[in-house]
Amino acid sequence: MHMLVCGGTGCRASASDAIVETLKSELAAKGMENEVQVIMTGCFGFCEKGPIVKVLPDNTFYTQVTPADSAEIVAEHIVKGRKVNRLLYTDPENKQHISDSKHMGFYKKQLRIALRNCGVINPENIDEYIARDGYQAIGKVFEMGAQAAIEQMKKSGLRGRGGGGFPTGLKWEIASKNHADQKYVVCNADEGDPGAFMDRSILEGDPHSVIEAMTINGFCIGATKGLVYIRAEYPLAIKRLQIAIDQAREYGLLGKDILGSGFDFDMELRYGAGAFVCGEETALIHSMEGERGEPTVKPPFPAESGYLGKPTNVNNVETFANIPVIILKGAEWFSAIGSEKSKGTKVFALAGKINNVGLIEVPMGTTLREVIYEIGGGIKNGKKFKAVQTGGPSGGCLTEKHLDTPIDYDNLLAAGSMMGSGGMIVMDEDDCMVSVAKFYLDFTVEESCGKCSPCRIGNKRLFELLERITKGEGTMEDLDRLRNLSEVIKDSSLCGLGQTSPNPVLSTLDNFYDEYIAHVTERKCPAGQCKSLMQYVVDQEACVGCTACARNCPVNAIAGDRKKPHVIDTSICIKCGACIEKCKFNAISIQ
C-alpha cells in the first residue's frame, strides 16, 4: 500500500512534513512499515482542502489532515480497512462523503497533462519518474532527430504557457536555425503573478519533466547548456530541482553522451530576486547576465541574440512540463485536446471568493462557468458572482456575460483580458471594481522597472487617478483621462508589463462603468468597499441608548444620552467599525 502525502509548499505550511512523520511512526508501531509506504509527493492542486493524504490502492482521498489524524488513519483505515469518514471530502450538493477524487467536482472536469505526475510520484526519487516513462521522450527524440522533433512540436500546436502564447515549435525552429558556437536553453521559473503557483508546483512535484524537456529542447536547437531562472523565494522547488538534477547526472541523463546519443547537455540554476518584470524574457536574460533586470527592445529576439549574446530559447516551466508527453504520445494526441487555436490543457490557480481554491488543469476551451462553478464549486458563502480576473495582475476583469466563453488565448484577448500565466481570481458582489483596478495598479507601479516613460510615470498617474476616484474626489474628466492614459500606456510601453498593466482599468471601465460613475457623480461606492465614501449611521428607531458604541468609539465620535438614540458625528468618525461590532441591536449601519 502507498500513502501519498502532499508535499507542495501550501500543504507543507500546514504541517504535511509532520503528517509523514506521524504516519510513519504509527505504521511502525503497528509493525506495518514494510507493507505501507509513505511518500511525499508534489501538489494535488486541491489546496483549499489541504493537506491531502491519498491512500492507494483503494484510492481514498483524505482532506484537511492534521498530524493528530495519523493515528486514526493508520488504526482504522490501514489496520481495519475502514475509511475515516470525517476526513473524506463532503460533496457540497448532497452532503455525501466522497472518498475517490475522481468523483469530486473539483477533479471531474480536470485533465492533468502538465501536472500528470504531481501528487503521484515522489519528486525526490528519479526511479519513480522513470517508472512513469520518464526520460523515454528524450530517447525517442534522439531516434527521430531534431528536425522531426521540432516538426512534432509545431504540429502539436503547443503555445507558450508563460502568457504570450507564442507557438513553441516555431520558437524552437527559429532558435535552431540561428547558428552559433554556443546556444542556451532557459527555463523561465520566475513565476511572478501574485497567487499563481503552477510553475512552483510542477518544479516541486515533477522536476524531472522539466529537466527532460529542457534536454529535448537543447537537442532540437543545438544547445548544450540549460539555465533555470528561478525565484529565490521558492526554496522547496529549488531543493527538489537540484536533487533531480543531481540524480539525472548520476544516471547519465544529464552530462556527456546522454543515452549513448553523443549529445551533451547540462544545466544549472540561477536565482532571481523576485522582480515581476524579470519574467519578461529579455529582462530575465539581463538579470542572469548580472545586468539590471530590465527589458530591451525586441527584435533582436533571444532566439537570435539572448544570453551572453548567443541564440537562446526561453520557455516557462509549464510549457516544458507538457513536452515529454507530447513527444511520447505524439502531436496528434495532444492537438486533439483543446480548442481550435489553443491546444492541450492549461493550469490555472483558482483564488478569490471561490469555494475550491487551488490548482487545476483543464483542456483549453473549457468555459469560465465550468471552471468557476463546477471545479471551483461556486462562490463562497452563497454570494453573487461579479467578475473573474484572468491573467495575473495585468489581466482584465471579465463578467457574467463572459462566463460561457471557452477559455483560450484568443478568446481571452478578445474579451479584453489575457491568459497570462494562469491566475484566476474570482470576485463577488462585495468587491468594488474601482478598488480592484487600483489594487492591481498598485502592484504594477511597484513592479515597473522604470525604463520606459509610459510605464514608469503613466502607471503611477493611473494609480493616482484611481485613488482620487475611490476617495470620492474624481471627476468625469478623470474618467476620460483614465481611458486615454490607459490606451497610450498599452500602446506605447516597451515590454509586456506596460503593454498590459492598464488592462484592469480598461476592462473595469468597459464592464463596470456604472460603478465608476457612482464613485464620481454620487460619491458612492456601490460595493461598500471604499472607506472614504462610507458613512456610519445609527438607526434612530433601533437604537436603545445602551451607550456601548459611544464607550467603545476610539475617537469619541458618538454622542447621545443614556436610553436615548445615539448619533455619530461623521466628521470625527474614522470608520474603524468598532461601534458596529459592539452594537447588540444591529442599529448601526454603513451607508
Partner: protein, 132 residues
C-alpha cells in the same frame, strides 16, 4: 549508481521500476484489477495472516498477475482466520477462510488464474460502505 547508457537500458529499467508506482496508476481504477484483501486484525495476524499477505505480494508479482493486495480489518470470521477476500474484475468478491501458504498457492492458480472456485469459501452476508 550505474549510468543509463541507452534507450533500451532505460526501458528495461522502467520495466523493473514499474511495479513501484503501478499502484498509483492502477489504484485510480481498482475495479479493473484483481483485488486481494487480507484480514489483518489481531485475530488474523495471530493466525499467520502476515505470512499469507507477504506470500500474495511476492507470488502475484512473480507470476505477473496484475493484482492489488491490501490489508483490511477483521472480517468477523475469526474462527476461520486467516481469511482473505478476493475480487476478480467485474465479479462479486468472495471470502475464503483458513488460508495458509499452500491454500494461497491454490487460490492463485485456480481461482485467480482460471476462475475455478476453491474450498473454504465463506458466504458473504453483509455489505461494506464501499460496495454500497
Amino acid at each position: 549508481m550505474a549510468k543509463v547508457k541507452s534507450l533500451a537500458d532505460l526501458k528495461k529499467m522502467k520495466e523493473q521500476l514499474q511495479s513501484k508506482v503501478d499502484l498509483r496508476e492502477k489504484g485510480e481504477d481498482p475495479e479493473s484489477r484483481v483485488q486481494v484483501k487480507v484480514a489483518m486484525a489481531t485475530c488474523g495476524i495471530a493466525s499467520g495472516a502476515k505470512t499469507v499477505m507477504d506470500y500474495f505480494l511476492e507470488e502475484l508479482d512473480k507470476r505477473s498477475i496484475d493484482a492489488v493486495v491490501t490489508q483490511t480489518g477483521c472480517m468477523g470470521y475469526c474462527y476461520a482466520e486467516p481469511t482473505i477476500e478476493v475480487k476478480l474484475p467485474g465479479q462479486e468478491p468472495v471470502v475464503i477462510g483458513y488460508v495458509d501458504v499452500k491454500k494461497a498457492d491454490e487460490i492463485i492458480e485456480k481461482y485467480i488464474k482460471n476462475g475455478e472456485l476453491v474450498d473454504g469459501i465463506i458466504p458473504m452476508n453483509y455489505n461494506t460502505i464501499d460496495n454500497q
